[in-house]
């Protein structure tokens, strides 16, 4: 079917979701680890516009933007479909994936970074977004229904990355009493062998987030 390579960084949740998709479909691939603080000519060649990971290389073509890559993988390798068949259900999946990346992820990160007076407000905002996701998983085993799907992969960053952000940001975000359904889904999701296989080590993530948050906070302090 052609050679498949992933240019990625094991600390990037956007890259992990690509690996999950490939593993679930039994696609063999080569992983090229990128040092995002020292970008390689290969990355710059294959993603000149954003200069970011992940990039999927397939048969000499490159594709960037993780949600775009997920749809590409689903269309090329049709076994174990990720997106639902029904057009309206597909639309709902796309809507929530976009919402998760634009509101939940950014909101969680902002809450992690926030300090002092702004912190509680940032946590409240992040939890408002999480509440929508909680409603979406209520009554379902996976976001994809009975089996894991595109939306599970798009939201799959939550169990590990929010835990890391909670520790680094010294806050509680995904409290079990407030988000029982998300907690239940997290346990089922994180237990799946293909999911576990691709997760970065918690320690490495903690280190990475500590460094990023400290750097961003110092930038903001210097502006004042």
């Amino acid at each position: 079917m052609g050679e498949v390579k992933v240019i990625g960084s094991t600390r990037s949740l956007f890259c992990t979701r690509i690996e999950w998709a490939l593993k679930l479909k039994g696609v063999e691939y080569e992983y090229i680890e990128e040092d995002i603080r020292n970008k390689s000519p290969t990355l710059l060649k294959h993603n000149p516009i954003h200069k970011k990971v992940p990039v999927l290389l397939h048969d000499g073509e490159s594709i960037a933007e993780s949600l775009v890559i997920l749809e590409y993988i689903d269309e090329v390798w049709t076994q174990n479909p990720l997106l639902p068949q029904d057009p309206y259900q597909r639309t709902i999946s796309r809507f929530w994936a976009k919402f998760s990346d634009e509101k939940v992820l950014l909101g969680s990160f902002d809450a992690c970074k926030a300090q002092g007076e702004e912190k509680q407000k940032a946590i409240d905002t992040a939890q408002e977004s999480l509440a929508f996701i909680e409603k979406e998983i209520e009554g379902k085993k996976y976001f994809g229904g009975e089996s894991i799907g595109y939306l599970d992969l798009a939201i799959g960053w939550i169990p590990l990355w929010i835990a890391v952000m909670e520790e680094v940001g010294e806050m509680k975000l995904l409290e079990a009493e407030k988000f029982p359904f998300l907690h239940k889904w997290s346990q089922i999701f994180m237990d799946l062998p293909p999911v576990k296989e691709c997760l970065p080590a918690r320690e490495a993530l903690l280190e990475y987030f500590h460094a990023s948050i400290n750097y961003l906070r110092s930038l903001e302090a210097n502006k004042q």
């Binding site: 594709i63 960037a64 775009v68 309206y88 597909r90 796309r94 809507f95």
Partner: protein
């Protein structure tokens, strides 16, 4: 078949226009409900409780929000003429460019529009870098979709209207023809397509609205100094 299609939209929003174009190109009959940002209807809030924004498409009672998500839905339900190609790699590229338009091009042009002085110069230079990528992508093509209008043309079509409105207001060129000959030519071809031409919101109202918006932004900036 008893198809019921409703589009909740604002009169000037470039996001809503995308849906209008897609529905018209595909010959879909639909009802338009105009919404005021400052006075949102109960129906809108019920159909889009998450963002409370337009556009929202309601198809047989089922609501869909987020214009690029709506476009893909429209393309899957009403298949002719297709907006996305069949080939997975080309589909991925189309999605990539549509996303690039919304996440980079549009915000950078908006920044250049609402700032002044040195900040405007810097914003303008970023906007032009983004436009250069689009210019490259258009080489050898009549439209982003090739010979026929496609998803990327629809996603970027706001350029063909808003750029000249913004340029008139700020008195600066955002997209000079010498620097962007392909984009310039594309805007003419795109704007000439009948369905596109007939759907532009009234230009004088657009100029007045965006002039007012710019003044609000500039005075907010002045207060922050």
């Amino acid at each position: 078949m008893g198809e019921e299609v409703k589009l909740f939209r604002g009169w000037s929003s470039p996001y809503a226009l995308r849906i209008v174009w897609a529905l018209k190109l595909k010959g879909v009959q639909y009802e338009t409900i105009y919404e005021e940002v400052s006075n949102k209807s109960r129906a809108l809030i019920e159909y889009n409780p998450i963002h409370k924004k337009v556009p929202v498409l309601v198809h047989n009672g089922k609501p869909i929000a987020e214009s690029l998500v709506i476009l893909e839905y429209v393309d899957e339900i009403w298949k002719q003429p297709p907006l996305l190609p069949q080939d997975p790699h080309r589909r991925a590229m189309d999605r990539f460019w549509a996303k690039f338009g919304d996440e980079k091009v549009l915000p950078s042009i908006w920044e250049a529009f609402k700032k002044q002085g040195k900040e405007q110069e810097e914003a303008l230079s970023i906007a032009m870098e983004n436009l250069k990528f689009l210019e490259e992508e258009l080489k050898g093509k009549k439209l982003f979709g090739g010979e026929e209008i496609g998803l990327v043309d629809i996603a970027l079509g706001w350029l063909a209207n808003l750029v000249s409105v913004f340029e008139e207001i700020i008195g600066l060129q955002l997209m000079p023809e010498e620097k962007f000959p392909h984009l310039f030519a594309w805007m003419q071809v795109f704007a000439d397509i009948p369905v596109i031409k007939e759907s532009w919101p009234p230009r004088d109202k657009m100029v007045a609205k965006f002039q007012a918006l710019r003044e609000v932004h500039l005075s907010k900036e002045a207060q922050n100094d």
